[in-house]
Symmetry: C2
Subunit: 361 residues, 2 copies
């Protein structure tokens, strides 16, 4: 690599080779050892093993040499020699969704605490793609694979995925699923069904009787569970949601907006409240309502799910179901690190928060 076009006044030493293609070789442990005048084994002990049984003088020499050569251990080489990496893999479906990014925040925090590096992959496409990603990730031999928001349900590839994960686990890896509680792996199980059911009760308690529902594709377990919980909750009061007031849409702000717009276009009828399976969707829907000339909280009440930060930044503040997403991430990582023999399920409970978007009727 050349270095044209930069008047580099910084501390950086100049290029050594004129040759454009030639890169300086990274210093290896061998180099360090030679420079320090000790064996490679000793250098290894100083830099990565237990410093204990090396003479002080040699420790110093090695350290000095390493600093001088700007040595960085080759993690792949270490991984291969040690037979284990310090990597954890995280699979999400969309980083820019607050739901996933909050979980990811928790995961990375816990990983850092455990000295692990997180590798993140995004599945935005098909289940096939997810399978492929898991295969690739497996190739990194991470300590753990954490799968969140997977559309594992009811697809042909489901069995293949499960087998892939199982093979990984048999080889000593640790698998954690977030919100997928019927598979034989560690699972952080968010109480989507229960929370939604509670939400239904609470809303009925406020005086609502006629509902519309905005949900995502049924293959998305999270959406389905929330939907079912809500519908079951209403059924306790002999309330049904009319088919024409159920909107299936993309699991995103855009999807929520589209659903809201559609609902507004079609006419609210006597619908009093629309509940979306996520805050992100609910917020999108609220904006769609406003754009259609409806005032959320007055003309139509709105409720969401997750209680993401922005829920209190919109007007009116959004009624939701609190899910401690960051903690979900922490939990997932902990589960991943506990080498439990049994597949454990850690339940995460959820909690209804009533706000101004659903005023008492």
């Amino acid at each position: 690599m050349h270095n044209l076009g930069m008047e580099d006044g910084s501390a950086a030493p100049p290029r050594r080779h004129g040759d454009a293609a030639s890169a300086e070789r990274q210093a290896t442990l061998h180099d360090v050892a030679r420079t320090a005048g000790v064996s490679q084994a000793t250098a290894s002990r100083v830099l990565n093993g237990s410093t204990r049984n090396v003479r002080q003088e040699n420790v110093a020499r090695v350290l000095a040499a390493a600093a001088e050569l700007n040595y960085t251990p080759h993690l792949s080489a270490q991984a291969i020699a040690r037979g284990a990496t310090n990597t954890a893999a995280l699979v999400v479906s969309g980083v820019d969704d607050p739901y996933f990014s909050s979980i990811a925040g928790g995961v990375t925090q816990a990983a850092e605490a455990a000295g692990l590096i997180v590798t993140m992959a995004v599945v935005d496409r098909s289940p096939e793609r997810e399978l492929q990603i898991v295969r690739t990730l497996r190739g990194m031999r991470p300590r753990a694979i954490i799968l969140t928001g997977s559309r594992i349900d009811g697809t042909d590839t489901r069995d293949a995925l499960v087998e892939e994960l199982d093979a990984y686990r048999r080889a000593g890896g640790s698998v954690v699923l977030v919100s997928q509680y019927d598979l034989p792996f560690h699972t952080v199980s968010i109480d989507n069904y229960g929370g939604a059911r509670q939400l239904a009760r609470a809303l009925v308690g406020l005086g609502y009787r006629r509902f519309a529902v905005v949900r995502a594709h049924a293959a998305l377990r999270t959406s389905r569970d929330r939907c079912e919980g809500f519908v079951d909750g209403l059924r306790e009061f002999n309330i049904d949601v009319e088919e024409r007031f159920v909107f299936e849409s993309e699991f995103s702000r855009r999807g929520g907006y589209a659903a809201g717009r559609e609902l507004a276009r079609q006419g609210l009828g006597d619908t009093e409240l629309v509940v979306a399976v996520s805050d992100v969707m609910a917020i999108g829907a609220m904006t769609a309502f406003r754009d259609a000339g409806l005032v959320p909280g007055r003309d139509i009440a709105v409720a969401g799910f997750d209680d993401i930060g922005p829920a209190v930044d919109v007007v009116p503040e959004l009624t939701s179901v609190t899910v401690p997403l960051r903690q979900v991430g922490l939990c997932a990582m902990e589960l991943a690190l506990s080498d439990d023999d049994v597949s454990r399920v850690v339940p995460i409970s959820t909690n209804v928060v009533l706000r101004d978007s659903t005023p008492r009727r």
Copy 2:
């Protein structure tokens, strides 16, 4: 690890050892070769090299063996043998901030397209921590290191970081900085200064004369540039921002909220508009105003920066400066992959969007 709780009827061979700790060995290329009855070299050629010069029959055998053994190439081993990985490292400061997660979205998308795996590290603490993270990342020998939102400015560790990055680059790695345009590396340079300056002009154009500013620590380059651009823009009209109406706070929703609360507590005086250095902060401030009984857009106008999605979900919709964050991510990755000799700077222009949070006066 045990395997309780699942009746595994799959093709997976049974445990070899009764020992709970013992894991089944992952199949290696050697195993595949043996099973297929060919040499390891041939197996390698089929599975990873050019399939071309291997007899059809052997190709089939190897493929079959690989499938049967559920073989996954050991990426670390490949990395070490090939002398190169297919990894890219991304350093952000906070995943759950829409700013970073949007950029991260772009980066991962571009990485995927290029067949790279993204490793993500979060720097939420000190610059020292950042240096340490970069060192670790370097150990993975990624093809590229993308640094975004780094608080590289004016710290003691700055030189150390630069040297670290330079050493990495000398060894053939590719470094990309987002929004740090005075360092000798590839840079995606968001026009923070210009955008802020335009914003100032536009707001003055709307009739505003008295401003408050909510900003983050001056060491954060992004915040500083936006601030300076804004102040310079006002100066064109001989408008100054009083010192007591400048609030320094955390670069987050929380920080924005705190600043807004403080401003409300202190009293607006004759302040007409508060501009925050990011939408996230602006939105936090808006909520603080509301909580203090002020109506944003009526009692106090508000403007932000970035034009993140939620900007149009709040009421009133937030005036902002559009930054194509996803594209910034894409760009960064492209820059990383182009093995350009010269350190290139790709400018990203920004654009003022006036919305209801800053009504004409």
